[in-house]
């Protein structure tokens, strides 16, 4: 009797072991990929940041020299400034447009599928093609925007991409054009997750539609806004194609985005150690900013689960 229990116990244990082994086997592709293409490079980037290495001659250990040089490099600070200014404009602008579009599409409008497709369309296009198109739109002499300005006011419009003040706003508008659809979808799903009962209760209490928006819709969307803020910031630090194709960091380094400067240092000037130090600094900066947003989120992000 007791031996039978032990036997089934063992059998059960074996089943668990087998299940675990099979689970590990199934996830092993990701695990191997993570170790080889993420964890190892992640460690590598720290080591390389302490070296001087042009990839041709053998690497030199230089200690913290790269970091020292980095913090004394005015172009590094410029690239940081450009990226942060861009993020400070682009992220709120993105949140606003996506929210407004999602609110519009959450009404009972006709041909809802059509509208969604239209707004989402630019999201799938190759950034190089988008960059070419917008270069042409912003063209100082023959671009469509300046032609409209000339037609309406009879004056010559600005050189959008060649003006240090206007280049970042111009790129922000283009970014909104290409990403509004993707973010709109995320807000839309957030909107549809808000239960109707809340609105019904508010209507009974006599709340106007404006109050309902401020007291229900917006608070319920804060997790989505929070998500958008974090991903939007990370995206800004990855921005590359626009700088490469449209402005080459110009005019006068006014669009020297962080990632473009990193590319110049690492892959054009072959200063791998310097580029690695840059990556590392940016990683810490992103972690810091994310933590900051996370911290602040306690004050303004509303999670339903917490209340229950």
């Amino acid at each position: 009797m007791s031996s039978a229990i032990v036997a089934t116990g063992k059998k059960k244990l074996n089943i668990y072991k087998k299940e675990a082994a099979f689970g590990y086997l199934l996830i092993s592709p990701w695990l191997i990929g993570f170790l080889c293409f993420m964890l190892a490079p992640l460690v590598g980037v720290i080591l390389i940041s302490f070296m001087r290495w042009d990839l041709i001659t053998s690497p030199h250990w230089v200690g913290i020299e790269n970091y020292k040089k980095l913090f004394q490099d005015p172009l590094f600070w410029q690239s940081l400034k450009v990226t942060l200014i861009y993020a400070a404009g682009r992220v709120p602008l993105g949140i606003l447009t996506a929210l407004v579009t999602a609110l519009l599409l959450n009404q009972k409008v006709k041909f809802i599928g059509f509208w969604r497709v239209v707004y989402y369309m630019p999201v799938v296009l190759p950034p190089v093609a988008i960059s070419l198109i917008w270069m042409w739109i912003y063209n100082g002499q023959y671009g469509v925007i300046n032609s409209i300005i000339h037609g309406l006011f009879g004056i010559q419009g600005p050189q959008w991409l060649n003006d240090p003040v206007l280049v970042l706003p111009a790129l922000m508008v283009m970014a909104v054009w290409s990403a509004a659809g993707r973010n709109m979808i995320i807000y839309l799903s957030g909107l549809q997750g808000i239960s109707n009962e809340l609105y019904e209760a508010a209507i009974i209490d006599g709340a106007s539609s404006w109050t309902r928006f401020w007291k229900i819709t917006l608070p319920m969307l804060t997790p989505v806004i929070f998500f958008h803020m974090v991903t939007g910031m990370i995206e800004t630090f990855q921005l590359f194609t626009q700088a490469y194709v449209m402005t080459e960091g110009g005019p006068n380094n006014a669009s020297l985005f962080f990632n473009y400067y990193l590319y110049q240092k690492g892959f054009q000037q072959y200063q791998m150690g310097y580029a690695a130090a840059m990556s590392w600094v940016i990683f810490l900066l992103i972690v810091g900013l994310t933590l900051l947003i996370f911290r602040s989120s306690k004050a303004w992000v509303y999670y339903e689960a917490e209340v229950k």
Binding site: E19, Y24, V128, I133, I137, S147, I185, S189, F227, F240
Partner: protein, 292 residues
Amino acid sequence: METAIDLKQIQARQLFLKLSMRVFIYAMLILGALFIFIPFGWTLSTALKTDQQVLAYPPVWIPSPVVWENFVKALTIRPFHIYYFNTFLIAFICVTAQVLSSSLVAYGFARFRFPGRNLLFFVLLSTMMLPSNLLLVPRFILFKTLGWLDTFLPLTIPHFFGSAFSIFLMRQYLMGIPLELDEAAKIDGAGPLRVYSSIIFPLVRPALGAIAVFEFVSVWRDFMGPLIYLSSEKHYTVSLGLAAFKSEFFTEWNLFMAAAVVAMLPPLIVFFIAQKYFISGASLTGSGASKG
């Protein structure tokens, strides 16, 4: 009597408010759609213009004559057929690899119990937050050491290990499939792979489709990867060819726009065929991630 008139007035006012709200909503939607469409229209119109008309002032929207030859010229002036072949080849390999690996890994995470599973899944999710440029330098050095530079290997091999995004999407989908189905098959003596191939696989096809579509478009959009890893022109992708084309022919806007139109076509076609997956897939990740 008087109150009845008031009621009618109130009703009329409400109707008026409702109507003007409608008008406002549609006006905004149309304005937004114009904002989306004008760049496309301008691109297509430029692609079909003569050199003189491109620089005409004030600008013309309808090209006359319509120069279809711009497309032929743009695509033959540089070997775009090679760029297209390369991009399709890379996309094909990546899509196949991604669908296979991500679905198996997601199956492992969704259906099997093993020590450390939740921790590993958390690690997987957190890699989504990792800025990819952090790994640019060491990955480049890794691929150089392996002798993979100027081959398609750096652009394809990493996709055989699944991506956090696809695995997450797939796992979300798998969690929605009742466990009883697996149990029933197991009782009938089916092994885990058998359960996967005959029960799970047919049910998750929509999610696999979504992953395939997302993967195709992301490979097609990639620019920095090819720029860093590929050097000889016979290996160029469409994006790379387009950027090189721009620096070579500096002012021939009609040719750029023709090339840009053709470069946009494959992802646009895929998008229109699969837009249902796209839009539901994007919302799935949005809501899932925002709840995390």
